[in-house]
Amino acid sequence: MSDAKAIADRLTKVRRLNALLTPSKDLRKSLTAQAAAARPTGVLYGMPVAVKDNICTLEFTTSCGSRILEGYRSPYEATAVAKLKAAGALIAGKTNCDEFAMGSSTEHSAYGRVIHPLDKARVPGGSSGGSAALVGSGAIPAALGSETGGSVRQPASFCGVVGIKPTYGRVSRYGLVAFGSSLDQIGVFGRSVHDAARVLSVISGRDPRDSTCEDRDPLRLPTVPESLQGFVIGLPREYFPPELDPGVRRACERAVRFLKEQGAAIREVSLPHTAYAVPTYYVLAPAEASSNLARYDGVRYGPRFNGAADLRSLYRSTRGQGFGPEVRRRILVGTYVLSAGYYDAYYRRAQQMRALIAQDFRNVFDRGVDLLFTPTTPTPAFKAGEKLGDPIAMYLSDIFTVTANLAGLPAMTLPIGRVKGLPIGGQLIGQAFLEDEMIEAAYALERVVPATDEA
């Protein structure tokens, strides 16, 4: 078992990334106490797992990367965190993220941007950028993040680590701060497929405290397959557009050759409504966020931004000063698309489009395709500041990941090579609750793909 001090030292060494929000002193103290209390029989005994700051923990504050929850201590902990602790894992602090998980670069945190572990001028992706950067830097083997539109897979891809978003309903969301409730799932980061998969297996399974969590046993960990004989893997042509970054394309083509060599049958398929996924997402997610974030009003928890003479101005000043620009923008867009006169034009239309996107996947899977393989992101990690002034450009970095959230499907990314030193991720999208098949294919690909070589 790694000792608590060694874990804290490793995390302190990568402070420059601004990936961890927990002060070193608090971390060291808590890790020592947790290590003394950890169950030696647990399957994750002694494994340090960092947790995104929008997942409630008793050990540390939960600020969601926002001023409006600065210093907030939750009086309860997330089921996923409780399960990790019951398995002997050590909660290795809270990771920096885009405010309320809204962003794709971790530049929208009230506590400063997170630095990419391989290139300080670049972003680690987001919104779970802190978790991705810590695993990418080698400081910890695994971390929890959360996904609403790709917030685990996109940063995992940028930082060269494995990221899994399970099926909607696979992992309890009790204690995950709500953003878009029809989309949110807790996801995991690992330095290898096995590290990510075993953490996922521990946190998955039924929870009476979350009615959207399916009544199923925890995920059974698959074994590493001999080959991919019998697997049919689809390549959706909409995910390989002409404007795709040439390095990303090269890495994907090489990964597909490896999948073939492992015995998988490769088939080109079509998901015709893919182009509408990002606009659909940017109606539904802000609409749900505008409702979920109504609870931050300076009355029951979090700081109160004062100068307020009456209750209404207390709400308005607390929310106006407590939320950052991206969150404010999304609350306004969400309120707009739900308001009288616009609901049918935006919200209802987006709901219909979501159904068509989900149907696209069912059509492909019904025709004997087991899994899909795609690039995780259209480009490698971009430079800090590059997309800050252009919300649409930022949103489009999630173009290949939002579809799985809209359809509620499991999806994961694993590193498949580098281009000019920057990691490229390959994405596998699976069928609902068949994470085990997806993980098997990832094991097979991971075994042969030279993940840190130039593609």
Binding site: Y72, Y168, T280, A294, V299, R300, Y336
Partner: protein
């Protein structure tokens, strides 16, 4: 389409969100761009027969009807901005709107 300054203010009131006068032009410009972008959804023929898709269990699962409090590690007095004698303290409501 473009979102006017007054529309931003109306929406901000609905959202109980204070917006600064100086951020208004940028905010209306960005909201307009985002709404223009998502408006491409209207290019798709509205199909009344599409069944709305929501992931997750098909039906709400019922729990046994018994009181089982999940105790909090500590009470609201420790996390509320102002709390007195079992109540959250707020300034008075100026007027009903």
């Amino acid at each position: 389409m473009s979102v006017t300054r007054d529309e931003v203010l109306r929406i901000a009131r609905l959202a109980e969100l204070e917006v600064d006068e100086e951020t208004l032009p940028e905010l209306s410009e960005q909201m307009s761009r985002i709404l223009d972008y998502v408006a491409q959804l209207s290019a798709v023929p509205a199909n009344g027969t599409v069944k709305i898709f929501v992931p997750g269990p098909d039906a709400i699962r019922f729990r046994t009807d018994e009181v089982s409090p999940w105790p909090l590690a500590f009470g609201p007095a420790e996390f509320a901005p102002a709390f007195k004698e079992g109540f959250f303290v707020v300034p008075r409501l100026d007027q009903f709107e």
